[in-house]
Symmetry: C2
């Protein structure tokens, strides 16, 4: 069984090493990860300039491949160029920092797993909240448990699991919660500064403070000491609104296409 | 009424100029756009290094602001630092190239509108398929119609409209279709080349060819000459799987948390 392992913290990151060790014996793990940190890159892909792949050695032993691109690039190159086959599993992480709420949209870790899901690979994103007492080793052990359970099931097309571990000591983990993504914005701000030449520059200050309490969400589970497992999909359609939007007043637009035979699927 | 206008092709892009002109008279348009092309950056945000904002002049007249970051950065800085208020509307585009199917995940144009939706701003992403006979001027005219209709409605929280214009002459546009996002992968490949020094590099070749025909999707509408309007959400949760996943065999994991009082919300 072939496993593609990637992340967004880079090929030398501690979290990647931890999960690689934990996956030993489960299958052949092929590491294809960014050669530098790629946090916050979201689902960026590189098609405007070329990419490099280089073998990476740790302690003089072959460790995997470093790619000069984003996590999503790593998945594409990993599958199409390095493995030249569909892996049985894609693992992204373990990210040092949680990826919950709207942060999943900014996360390279999650984007790699979404990319895997798009390609039809059972995919899981793993992230560890590091704000208090993170236990990376334990997160890696539990991740393997979760992955083994996942392998016994078929995920719906385009769907992946987003797993977050709370920042508590292992004996304080309360259990597992299956959650929905928190969708409210977080508190954030802009830090305005002067450079040594007196010119203004700006630093985005990404908040983690939630603005609205919402039960059943990934952020809530994590803050209460639970491991959060959220099934995510690559389908962003708001199907509920799709059912209603046809009833808006599209008449004025209809006028423009009078000479065409159909509008909204009806003869006009 | 204040309107925030951004894009991912950059502040000097033709598509941005076209929609800016078309929005004249609707409200006060504030342009905050990347100072260089940012195609394919997805929902990346910049928090690892600082950002610059500079005023941009066209023909010696103030045009807007250029930001040294991603489209999502532009929205954050636009709202928090430049406008210092919540605009009534966010417009992203017009992108020269369609953003349908899984390309919405890679698109900076769409990411900016998602960012707006997260912040509670009625938001619309506009893209024009340029593969055959694109009519940018007409796309800009129709965009204004669509925006005026949108302004008469409340979008659900975290929801935006993703609008794509087909690449046909204006008299050949067949009408409007309300669609779901196409979620299958596209044909893609990797081009492997040698640089002048003989070293290998790779170029991702992003395909537009669909792999599976699916009715009612954005890609299908566009390829048949319709304008496609897709309501998208920032909530990636697969709610259907969320209802079922608790029934997987989580027993082995449960053992680990025996000493805790709850698992899956039940006493153990």
């Amino acid at each position: 069984m072939k496993i593609l392992l990637t992340n967004d913290d880079g090929v030398y990151a501690q979290g990647l090493g931890a999960i690689k060790k934990s996956l030993q014996g489960l299958g052949e793990v092929v590491v294809v990860a960014p050669d530098a940190e790629q946090s916050g890159v979201g689902h960026s892909i590189t098609f405007s300039h070329p990419l490099r792949i280089r073998p990476v050695y740790v302690d003089d032993e072959f460790f995997g491949y470093g790619v000069s691109g984003s996590p999503a690039d790593c998945v594409k190159l990993g599958v199409m160029e390095i493995m030249k086959c569909q892996p049985r599993l894609l693992v992204s992480g373990i990210n040092m920092g949680s990826n919950t709420g709207i942060h999943v949209l900014y996360s390279g870790t999650v984007a790699a797993a979404i990319e895997g899901a798009i390609l039809g690979i059972p995919s899981v994103a793993l992230s560890l909240d590091v704000s208090n007492f993170p236990d990376l080793e334990y997160a890696a052990i539990i991740s393997r448990d979760i992955i083994e359970i996942l392998l016994g099931h078929d995920l719906p097309r385009g769907t992946l699991l987003n797993v977050n571990f709370p920042s508590v000591r292992r004996e304080e983990i309360k259990g597992v919660r299956f959650t929905k993504q928190y969708t409210y914005s977080f508190e954030e701000s802009v830090d305005c500064r002067k450079d040594p030449g007196g010119k203004t520059y700006y630093w985005l200050v990404g908040g983690r403070e939630i603005t609205v309490e919402e039960e059943g969400t990934d952020t809530e589970a994590l803050s209460h000491g639970y491991i959060s497992i959220t099934p995510l999909t690559c389908d962003l359609t708001n199907h509920e609104l799709l059912d209603k939007i046809g009833h808006w007043e599209w008449g004025q637009l209809e006028q423009r296409f009078k000479k065409t035979t159909t509008f909204l699927g009806k003869e006009v």
